[in-house]
């Protein structure tokens, strides 16, 4: 049986094991982890996975979660389409 894996980012299929590997490679800040693993880059825009990642890193490193800086939020925050393009 394949080993159990813990899913952290549902949109991009990123697991805790992937996070561990990236940490070992030396990617420690959330901006870099986001881009190395694509966590938070799917349709949810990090709404669910980034808090989970912060919680995991906070417990792992014994750092209060409020000291871990989340990646910068990019608009549009929710996926949007022609609402932006009147007359298009």
């Amino acid at each position: 049986m394949a080993p159990l894996r813990s899913l952290l980012c549902f949109c991009e299929g990123v697991t805790i094991e992937d996070v561990e590997r990236a940490l070992e490679e030396g990617f420690r800040d959330l901006e870099s982890l986001k881009r190395r693993l694509r966590v938070g880059m799917g349709p949810c825009q990090g709404r669910y996975c980034i808090p989970m990642l912060i919680s995991y890193l906070s417990r792992k490193f014994g750092v209060p979660p409020e000291r871990l800086i989340p990646p910068r939020v990019r608009p549009t925050a929710r996926a949007c389409s022609r609402v932006f393009v009147p007359g298009c």
């Binding site: 030396g26 870099s32 825009q45 608009p75 549009t76 949007c80 393009v85 298009c88």
Partner: protein, 362 residues
């Protein structure tokens, strides 16, 4: 980073990279990842041909996501077609084999493109794209393996003594160095200003947006010649697009709604399904623009052992490998590998020897 990689490859025993934020945070991670040699100046073409060779080698060696998937320049007006003919003759003269494609051929490389308004399309088969995230991260991992040290802190000052560089002062103290390379994008200007060196750089805001991911839509990076807009389908399937909107040079630009409506409007001409597609993210970055849209490379005359690599005017990611190789050669042997790189030193602005480039996009 590319310079550090090539210095380590040449056997330099201690190479230290200072990064004030996270890797790629300046301009690289905001770029589209396009790579081409189809420029209109000898300097750009010669250097980019070598860069493309290096992209091929590095992507194999370091498993970087890179594809020679081409560039496709789209003309819907007679004027634009005329411009493309002119560009193409310059490309061909320098051995970049761009060629015009029939609408049927265009459909093969770009099945999701509407060709009904197409007057002519110029295809550059040598061009391609790479993933900025993957390229930077793989270069980081490989160069670290080769002994390059990374320090995540800001360089505050470059230390100079008796007309020669002596090291840098950062948040954690000073570090002595025989050579210093300033490759801090548009912020290089501020670093060098305190040394009395004036870099003719302007921080020009450029915007980009990305859609949700889809299956194969088009392979090449496409350019609408009328507006200068570009669009590329990333390796992950997103469509990343940019277009110019009126902007003044600005150090901390903000997002603008006008960009989103313009970019969707412009691209709807060629991608009629675009208005019903979801935009996922939108961001703004810089082109560090020089008066002649060419980079500033190599040694700074007034201070010994001080080098710069900046001013790429929107082409820094694609030029990364060749610039790394040229800078490493300059530092190791006192001269660049190619004559064209020597035309791009800071001295050209003092001597008024500017170079002309017609094909700047996005």
């Amino acid at each position: 980073m590319a310079t550090a990689y090539f210095l380590a490859e040449r056997g330099f025993s201690r190479v230290v990279v200072f990064e004030r934020s996270y890797l790629g945070s300046g301009s690289t991670f905001k770029c589209a990842g396009g790579i081409r040699a189809s420029f209109t100046s000898r300097e750009h073409i010669v250097l980019m041909k070598r860069s493309i060779e290096l992209w091929g080698e590095l992507s194999k060696r370091l498993c970087i996501k890179y594809a020679r998937s081409g560039y496709l320049w789209l003309a819907g007006r007679e004027d634009d077609l005329e411009k493309l003919r002119k560009y193409s003759s310059i490309h061909n003269q320098f051995g970049v084999n761009t060629r015009f494609m029939e609408p049927g051929e265009v459909k093969e490389v770009a099945p999701a493109l509407d060709t009904s308004r197409l007057l002519g399309a110029l295809y550059d088969p040598l061009a391609g794209k790479a993933s900025p995230f993957d390229a930077v991260h793989k270069l980081y991992l490989a160069s670290r393996e080769m002994g390059v040290e990374y320090r995540f802190e800001e360089v505050r000052r470059i230390l100079v003594e008796g007309g020669a560089v002596r090291g840098v002062a950062s948040d954690s103290g000073t570090m002595e160095a025989e050579n210093v390379v300033v490759a801090a994008g548009v912020w290089s200007k501020q670093l060098l200003e305190s040394l009395g060196i004036s870099l003719p750089l302007e921080p020009e805001p450029h915007h980009a947006a990305i859609t949700e991911e889809y299956g194969r839509l088009f392979d090449p990076l496409i350019i609408d010649l009328e507006s200068g807009a570009y669009a590329v389908q990333t390796f992950h399937g997103h469509v990343l697009m940019g277009v110019e909107i009126p902007e003044q040079p600005c150090w901390e630009p903000g997002e603008r709604l006008a960009f989103l409506s313009k970019v969707v409007r412009v691209w709807s001409k060629w991608l009629p399904w675009l208005p019903s597609v979801n935009i996922l993210r939108y961001w703004v970055g810089h082109y560090e623009v020089t008066p002649d849209h060419h980079p500033v490379l190599g040694p700074v005359d007034s201070i010994e052992n001080l080098f710069v690599a900046t001013g790429f005017s929107g082409h820094g990611f694609m030029m990364g490998p060749v610039v790394g190789e040229e800078l490493a050669s300059w530092i190791a042997s006192g001269a660049p590998r190619t004559e064209e790189a020597a035309h791009l030193t800071l001295r050209r602005f003092e001597e008024g020897k500017l170079i002309r480039e017609l094909a700047v996009i996005g």
